[in-house]
Each structure stands twice: as C-alpha cells, then as structure tokens.
C-alpha cells in the first residue's frame, strides 16, 4: 500500500430523461458497472424512485426539472462540476409533440417550438455547459435520435424535424470537437411511454424492451466506436435478434 494511493475514480455520466424507458434502463446498467450518475427527469416522484434504487449501488445526483429550462440545465452543470469530470453526456430526454400525432397542416406551432427546444436546443445547451468536464476525460456525447429524423413518416413531422436538427448538430459537433466521441443513436422502436404516446390506445408492448437496446448504447457511452450515427440494430444484431426471436 502506498500512503498516497488514491481511491479509484468512478466514470461519471449525465443522463437526461432517466426516470423511465431507455434512460432508466441505461442508468441502471451504468450504476451496476459503478459509474457515478447525474440524472435528470421532469417527474420528481419517478426520478426519486430511480435515485433511491441506484443510490445503493453508486453515487447518484438526481435533479428533477425540464431540460428546456436554462436554470435547470445550470443545476445539472453544477452537479457535473462537483465531480470535476464527465465521461458521458447522454441526451435522452425527448418529447413527442402532439399526441395523437397530427399532420403538419394541423400542427400547433407552439408545440413545434417546444419540441425543437427539448429535443434539439437543450441537448446542445447541455453540451456547451459541460464541455470542459467532457474535454477533461475525452468523453462521449450520445444524442438519442430516431429513424423519424431520416425517414418521412406521416404525422412524425414535429418530432422528426427536431431529431433531424439534433442529428445535424451532432454531426457538426463531431467535426468541431475531434477530442470527443460524438454520436447520434437510433434505438429503433421500443416499448416506452413516448412510443405509447405516438400510438395511443394501441398496445406498443410488443416492441422490444428498452433494456434490449442498452448493450448497443453502452458501446457508444464508453466511446469505443468512431464518432457518427449508429442504429441499435447495426450495433448489436445478436441482442436484437434474441429479443424478437
């Protein structure tokens, strides 16, 4: 034993939208692997449940709020500052827009603005805020995208345009910040609350569970692949098959 031996440093992740769906599944896996977590979600009760659950495994900061709110983003930034490092920023929090889905001719522009703010502006704003902590570790930025960002589906204009903007921001960031790994991640259809909102009244729980996508997402969170846009199905074909089999 050396007298000045330091405690092993935990990698730190900031995961938004961590109280349910893919964000919660990822947070659980990262906690199990010993990552320290800064978690965000709008619903304070659901976020609290996740924080209590994962707090037994690792160091958790849980801040309830809306990523569209600059004051809340600042609070998340301060929680990251307390760790003095950030290994992964996972911009997972998203809103769908109107539910049920509406065609663009009927789209309420306030909804469009809100969706762009949450799904595209807020992720960039968080990147700007935590960039020094990310640069310190050469960390990863993972922006959770959608096939609606690249395919034109009727009714998906609001959500898809916001995710397309996010994809564009992600791609440019990757060029501008070569010291980081920067990813857009398309998880595919999942049995999540957001997907349920897109198809109200329909049983979406025949889709893969968000947990099935986590192994693919982890490849990116750990920064093991070159920057770029990845689909879960291409990253982890074995897991994806196992789920649908």
């Amino acid at each position: 034993m050396t007298p000045h031996a330091q405690a092993p440093v935990r990698p730190v992740a900031l995961v938004t939208g961590a109280s349910r769906g893919l964000g919660r599944a990822l947070a659980r896996e990262l906690a199990a692997q010993g990552w320290a977590l800064v978690l965000d979600a709008r619903d304070p009760v659901r976020l609290h449940r996740v924080a209590v659950e994962l707090g037994a495994l690792t160091d958790v900061s849980a801040l309830a709020g809306d990523v569209a709110d600059p004051a809340h983003r600042e609070a998340l930034g301060r929680a990251v500052d307390a760790h003095r490092r950030l290994d992964a920023l996972v911009n997972n929090a998203s809103v769908l827009g109107p539910s049920p889905l509406v065609p663009l001719r009927e789209l309420d522009l306030t909804e469009l603005q809100r969706t762009w703010t949450v799904n595209a502006l807020a992720p960039l704003a968080l990147v700007q805020r935590v960039l020094p902590a990310l640069e310190r570790t050469g960390g990863a930025v993972v922006d959770v995208s959608s096939d609606a960002a690249v395919e034109a589906y009727a009714g998906w204009g609001c959500y898809g345009s916001a995710k397309a903007a996010l994809d564009a921001l992600t791609a440019v960031l990757a060029v501008e910040q070569p010291e980081l790994t920067v990813y857009a991640f398309d998880p595919g259809d999942m049995a999540t609350d957001l997907h349920q909102q897109a198809f109200p009244g329909e049983d979406v729980y025949d889709r893969p569970a968000p947990e099935s996508v986590v192994p693919a997402l982890l490849e990116l969170v750990c920064g093991r692949l070159p920057s770029g846009r990845y689909r879960a199905a291409d990253l982890a074909p074995v897991e994806a098959e196992a789920v649908t089999a």
Binding site: V45, H48, A51, E53, G55, A62
Partner: protein, 349 residues
C-alpha cells in the same frame, strides 16, 4: 408529573388533521392512504402501494405480528363510579398494568391509588398495587394491579373487552380493523398501526419480487396520546429464524426495513454494536434517539406521530433529526392525516 421531560416540539399540527375513521369507511381500501417518502435525495408524495417501488430483491421487511386485543373494559370503583379501563399488558407475575380513563375518553384519570378496588365484568376484581414502571412516581398514569381470580388476559379481553378507541375516532371500528394482515400472536393493547395499510395483495407482490418478510413480536402497551412519555417496558420476542434472516440479508447487502417503531425497538434491543442481531425475548426498556441511533434498521415505514411524541426520537434514531424534520414539514404542508387510520411515511435515509 411524569419522570421524563417532554421532547422538544418539532412542528405544529394544524387542526382537522387527525384521521377520524378508517379508509374502509370511506369506501376505500386499507392501502388507500398517502405515503410520504423521505430519502437523502428528496421528500416526495406517493400512494401507499408505491412502497414496492422502493424495495428490491434481497431487502427484508420486518413486521410486528402482535395481535391487538380488545383491551378496554368497563370498570367500577368502590363508590359505584363507572369509567373505561385500558389493560396495557400482563406482567410476568400475573399482575396487569392498567390505565384508568375519564368517562368521556378525553384523557387519563390519575385518581387511582394503592388499594383501590375495581370491579370488572365477569366477576373479576382488581386491587391497584403500585405505579408502573416507576413505583415511586406520583401521580401516575399506569398502575399495576393484582387480578382475582387469576385469568388469562388475552382470553378474558377477547370475551369482555372492546378495542381501545381514542376520542378523535368517530364511531367504533370493529376489532378486525385493528389487526394487521400478518397478526398472529395475541398481546397488544393498542394496534401496532404502521402495518395497517398493508394488504395481503401488496405483501404477495413484495414477496414475489424477492423481498423477505420477517416477523418479530412486540406487544404494544397503551400510549395515551395526550401525554408525551418515554415508552414503557414492553414484552418482545425475536426468534432465531428472524435474527438469521435479518443477518443474512445484511450480509448480502440487503436493507432492513422496519414496519413500525415497535419493530425498531425490538430489533435494536437484540442488536450488537456492529448491527448483528441475536435471538431474544423478554422486556425491553430500550429508548432510541439521535444519541442512541439504530444499528441494524436501514429504513422505516411508520404512521404520523404527534409533535411532542417520544416516537419522534425513535425516528431520529433511524433517519436523523434533519430528515425527520424535513419529512414532518412536508407532512404538515401536504394535508396528511395523523394516527392509526391516517397516512404513512417511508424514511429511507
């Protein structure tokens, strides 16, 4: 007055916040009460069945399986005056510990004295002996009394007693309303009420998720909500298998969550400084507080306690005064209902 000074007043209980009837009388389920969850992260408002969201595989939920006896009987003294008598417990030598109440149930009656003879239903006579637990205390709320003829307290009360009902309760809920679903060992004078909102369904859901439910026994005496005394000695039993279940859960990293202050008292009475629990039975006079913190209990499900109740000191022992104060601030502001038919809290420091 009583031996111990009251604890500090920690909050002001607003009027109209005592649960006056069981939720069942409002057409709802036993579990249809609110749950305030206080952890190091936040204090949040939940519904009681959401408790399961906070427990996980490997945790143990320790419950008090004491059955509540109908412990109020009609007594008559030598002058023919009638008043309710609460039978708190039976001592090892067969004497009973009793509390005389004012006829309108508004509080304890301090007029008992050594030698007072009380006639009880069924031809039983009590001769008041000495104050309990401190024989030198004057005046005293609780007295021991010699019973003649010798009768089994549980069987006698089941025949002649009715549940203890304090004056904030409207009507007379049946004895079954004062039992927890897991109750099996007759002996409490008052309900170990933290367990009341648990339904058989919720228990099954918890067990099926890998949470172990472990029973201990502690028979609750009468608390007299009007006074703020330290808890009196109470009989308890922690079995060998209960102790083993708690120890093995802790060894595997599971949490020990107590349902009720009685469970904390019993477990901590048989806990070593390192938190290992041993089997044990007898009378416990352990008083827990921030100065004597819990060694084995990690979390606590409990009802809502009065501002000056000594129970709050026990909460401090589990959760620390800061978190307890934060929780009570939220309870007061959040329109929660106090007492055995009211709402609940989960403290998870």
């Amino acid at each position: 007055m009583t031996a111990a000074a009251p604890t500090r007043t920690r909050f002001v209980l607003p009027p109209g916040r005592l649960a006056t009837e069981p939720p069942e009388w409002r057409g709802r389920g036993r579990d249809d009460v609110r749950l305030l969850v206080a952890s190091r992260y936040a204090v949040v408002h939940e519904h009681f069945p959401s408790l399961r969201e906070y427990l996980r595989e490997g945790d143990v939920l320790v419950v008090n399986n004491s059955v509540t006896l109908p412990s109020a009987v009609a007594a008559r003294d030598g002058s023919g005056r009638r008043f309710p008598l609460h039978v708190s417990t039976a001592l090892d030598d067969g004497r009973w510990v009793v509390e005389a109440r004012r006829p309108d149930q508004s509080g304890p009656d301090f007029s008992l004295s050594p030698g007072t003879r009380l006639a009880l239903p069924g031809g039983v006579e009590l001769v008041v002996d000495e104050p309990f637990p401190d024989a030198g205390a004057r005046p005293s709320r609780l007295w021991s009394a010699v019973v003649s003829p010798t009768v089994d307290r549980a069987r006698y009360l089941e025949r002649f007693g009715s549940p203890i009902v304090y004056d904030y309760v409207t009507g007379h809920p049946p004895t079954s309303y004062y039992q927890n679903v897991w109750a099996s060992e007759p002996g409490s004078a008052e309900m170990p009420s933290a367990g009341r909102p648990f339904t058989a369904e919720l228990l099954v859901r918890l067990v099926s998720r890998g949470i172990t439910v472990v029973p201990i026994t502690l028979h609750c005496g009468v608390s007299s909500p009007e006074l703020h005394e330290p808890p009196a000695p109470e009989p308890f039993r922690v079995s060998e298998s209960a102790a083993a279940a708690v120890n093995s859960a802790r060894a595997r990293g599971g949490r020990v969550v107590a349902v009720g202050t009685t469970v904390v008292r019993a477990l901590e009475s048989v806990a070593s400084p390192d938190g290992t629990v041993h089997e044990g039975a007898g009378w416990t006079d352990l008083v827990l507080s921030a100065e004597r913190p819990a060694r084995v209990v990690d979390g606590l499900v409990t009802g809502l306690h009065e501002p000056e109740a000594s129970h709050l000191d026990l909460l401090d022992a589990v959760a620390g005064p800061e978190l307890v104060d934060k929780a009570y601030e939220a309870l007061v502001q959040g329109d929660y209902l106090w007492h055995e038919f009211g709402d609940s809290t989960l403290l998870l420091p």
